[in-house]
Amino acid sequence: MTVARREVVRFALAKLEAGEVCRRAAGLLQDMTGGDFEADAAAAIADALEAVCPDFDPALIEELSGDSAAQAFVRARLLNAWKHASEAEAQLDRCIDALARPDATTLALRARWRAKRGELTGAARDLRLALHLFPDHAFHLRTEKLVEKLSASVAPRRRCRLALLGSSTTALLAPVLRSVLFRDGIAAELYEGPYGAFRQEILDPASGLYRFAPDHVLLLVNRRDLALGPDGGVRGARESAAELRALWRSLQSRLPCHVVQTTYDLPPPGGWGFLESARPEGRRRAVMAANEELATDLPAGVSLLDVEALPLPDGITFRDERGWHASKQYPSAGALPVLAEALASQVRAAMGLASKVLVLDLDNTLWGGIVGEDGVGGIRIGPPTAEGEAYRDLQEYVRDLRSRGVVLAVCSKNNPAEAKAPFEAHDGMLLRLNDFAAFVADWQDKAAGLARIAAQLSLGLDSFVFLDDNPFERTLVRERLPEVVVPEVRADPWSMLAALRRGMYFEANQITSEDLQRNLSYQATEALRSASQSSESLEDFLTGLGMTCEHGPVGPTTLGRVAQLVNKTNQFNLTTRRYTEEQLRRVSGDPGWWCHWFRLSDRFGDHGIVGVILARAEARRLVIDSWLMSCRVLGRRMEDFMCACLVAAAVERGAIEIHGEYLPTAKNGMVEDLYPRMGFAALERVGTFRLELSESTAPRSLWIRGVLREEKAEGR
């Protein structure tokens, strides 16, 4: 409930008096229909009415006869209190149907009533949907017993045995974890070790842990275990972490189980303030060192869960000092659902139950706007709009999923040609058509579309996640294909990205060579298919890459990245000269210099600025001071393209020759023969080369399309 709404309800409740109940309550509920339905507010009003009208009162129902979800909710609650169960449930159905978006509390109430009359399947379905909405910790506490009941009586997809060990109390975490797994169709039997005794449990072969014989052991540690002072001591922290690693070995040598280990949380600022981060032995650095120790050479069968990377909802903090001191609760109660989700994601992954396919809508899901109406030029994707940039972030996240082996598909209500156009013609798009294993664009309903995609990919719908901005489509898919996970989102890119992060649907315990191979093979297949000839030559591959190179003079907006490249590129770097940003600013503004950046994109994405040439004019000669390229784009013959640009620039300036030199280092052996390859002739002094421009033999670039971007260089 929002604070303002809470104030209104509180005030109104304080004023409610027996004689005025009906009119005031009806008025209050009418007020509430203006905003979103808030179950807590409606429930508080129902409580008040129940208290003053304990007996059946048709006149009260008559008074509350509005169509709004809030009024239907209160009618349902009152009828239930008066023991008119079936009428109550009918009113609750009306409430749920009237809601613009699903509400966890309301669904849980119906689940409770359905369970009571023995309709367990329907109850489980309601509760699962509610749990997919990521309700808060209080919701979990209130539905704990209901989950236990349903978990025992509704057949699960799978069962597992989980042990929860830690140096804090796990009493509140356990039920949340059970609920999250129940939602995913996993019936979990849970074992909680004696408080704070996880070492003994693991080291004693006769402990309750081994008698329970879990499939998964979750180890919850926190920074207090390290008992660090302000100048913490990195060595001691590392030793504690090494001790944990030894415990994993002991455990797994006795029991073939999957271990999920949480990292140590970073401490809040202590009395030594920022020195605790700055000093070599500072407390925060010691905790980081312990975590580093945990992560280094992580053994197979152990998943490490970084608690600092949990996607906490707004307003929720991870730490709770009161909870720790009052009940050894760690982390905060509010963070428990996210922590449970993270633990569950690792369990799902180990059981092979992580989602595998992400099906995406297009309009207002992958870009802003409707391509069929706004046209390719009218949709928002990429800069300059904030919305467009956010959609690009979303696309980047999706592309990262794909690079890890998640299968992507499109299911859109569109004409196929229009649906595909942005992928082919809009340069703000990160995702390309061949990133998708299936592409459905038609006017059929989306449940049918998803079923077709499942058939085409031979993958089960229970491994699908469907992202769509349209509440109608989401509701339809939830009803028709309940096995598909449908994240609840608001119609903006930030909300969609947050939902994907919060859901942790595609988590993996590790990245296998198979995961990567899956996409490499997709890419290779695609590259070969799109090549003009069927032979498997390098040329065909390069052609198939569809490379575009933007390039231009170094200026204010590119200076930062150029400086970064100049200072960190080691392999493809002819002279390895380092310059500060200020020095680069000076030479790039000097008309006697030619300072140029190169940015490469291909169908796998935009690689950003990946190449730099700095050259200075000496009479009718251009001298290459620096030439470097990021190793991310090696093997694509981008050097040919860069050289061609350089030659063109030299000719334009009226130069007759270009000089270059190679200064060998321990790392730049790969460019030792670059100048001869580019047609330069060796000069007498070792490592110096010359290209005569009169009858240029510089290579032309055959595979890269160039786009010159002029940016006014900043004057001195």
Binding site: A51, R112, R142, K145, L172
Partner: protein
């Protein structure tokens, strides 16, 4: 006394007993299952629903419905 009804609903959910009746006299001594863990669950649920926060000391000291109501009253004034 609508706070009592509200509290009763929360108790009913946490203890999964729709018939549960509580009075101000209900306490950890006379309600089976009201142990320290349930205590925490009740308080966290009340906090989330009413948008308030118990003091550290109140978390363990409010051992009866009357005491819970008193804490709520102290914080919210109703």
């Amino acid at each position: 006394m609508d706070r009592l009804t509200q509290l009763q609903r929360i108790f009913r959910e946490v203890f999964d007993d729709e018939e549960l009746r509580i009075t101000p006299e209900t306490s950890q001594k006379n309600l089976a299952g009201w142990d320290s863990v349930s205590q925490l669950k009740i308080i966290l649920t009340v906090e989330a629903e009413l948008g308030m926060r118990f003091e550290t000391e109140e978390v363990s000291s409010a051992r009866s419905v009357a005491e819970l109501l008193a804490v709520i009253q102290r914080h919210l004034g109703s």
